[in-house]
């Protein structure tokens, strides 16, 4: 199971999901209308590396992080 972490202000508990790639995650999320507002503005990291494509295989124990817009300093 991959673990999904919702960072910063999203305020949602981590999820464990059984997926083979990010496309499947997008499908699962499509049912969560409330989350869509965040997904619109969130970037994605897999095992702490930012990704730009849905064509990424997900292995068991991968960590998937959702990162909303940032503002340090």
């Amino acid at each position: 199971m991959a673990r999904i972490e919702f960072l910063g202000p999203i305020g949602k508990e981590p999820l464990e999901v059984d997926i083979k790639n990010l496309k499947e995650l997008k499908e699962i999320f499509s049912e969560d209308k409330k989350l869509q507002e965040w997904l619109k503005i969130c970037a994605v990291a897999i095992n702490d590396t930012m990704v730009n494509s849905l064509d990424v295989d997900i292995k068991p124990n991968d960590k998937i992080s959702l990162l909303p817009p940032v503002c340090g300093g």
Binding site: L7, C42, V44, L66, P69
Partner: protein, 147 residues
């Protein structure tokens, strides 16, 4: 070196420690950028969440980039609440010559603002309010959003 602290930064102590650590290393320019929380829009302060693993990766990449020019970077950032008129952020460049240092402090701070995985909240009436309008989308934002 990347240092994270709970609450406001002790600016004088951090700068004094860094200066003592580096003054004999033959850098000619030491340029700290110190961010101070402004009293504006009725806030009592700011609050921060940090995702440390990606922040560390981001910082290490910048350190590598700086070292290729003979320079070095230092950074301190607050986690949690930081009241008005105290500091939440210090970045510093050490470089042999001033021109590299002045360029790096600018580029480092600007890239920090655009890419460091830190989330800012206004403290208003004791509550944390995500500073969404002042925040910047990361590269690849929207990847999981249904079209």
């Amino acid at each position: 070196m990347l240092e994270l602290y709970d609450g406001p930064l002790h600016v004088e102590e951090i700068i004094a420690k860094w200066y003592q650590d580096v003054k004999d290393k033959n850098f000619g320019a030491f340029i700290p950028f110190i961010g101070i929380v402004r009293d504006e829009k009725g806030i009592s302060g700011l609050s921060f969440d940090i995702y440390e693993p990606i922040l560390k990766n981001w910082f290490d990449e910048w350190q590598e980039r700086a070292s290729q020019e003979g320079a070095m970077l230092l950074m301190a950032h607050s986690k949690g609440d930081v009241p008005n008129h105290t500091s939440s952020y210090i970045s510093a460049v050490l470089s042999p010559q001033r021109k590299v240092g002045l360029r790096l402090i600018n580029d480092f701070v600007e890239d920090f603002k655009a890419n460091a995985p830190i989330w800012k909240y206004d403290l208003i009436d004791g509550k944390r309010v995500y500073a969404k309008e002042r925040s910047t989308l990361l590269n690849g934002a929207g990847l999981l959003h249904e079209i």
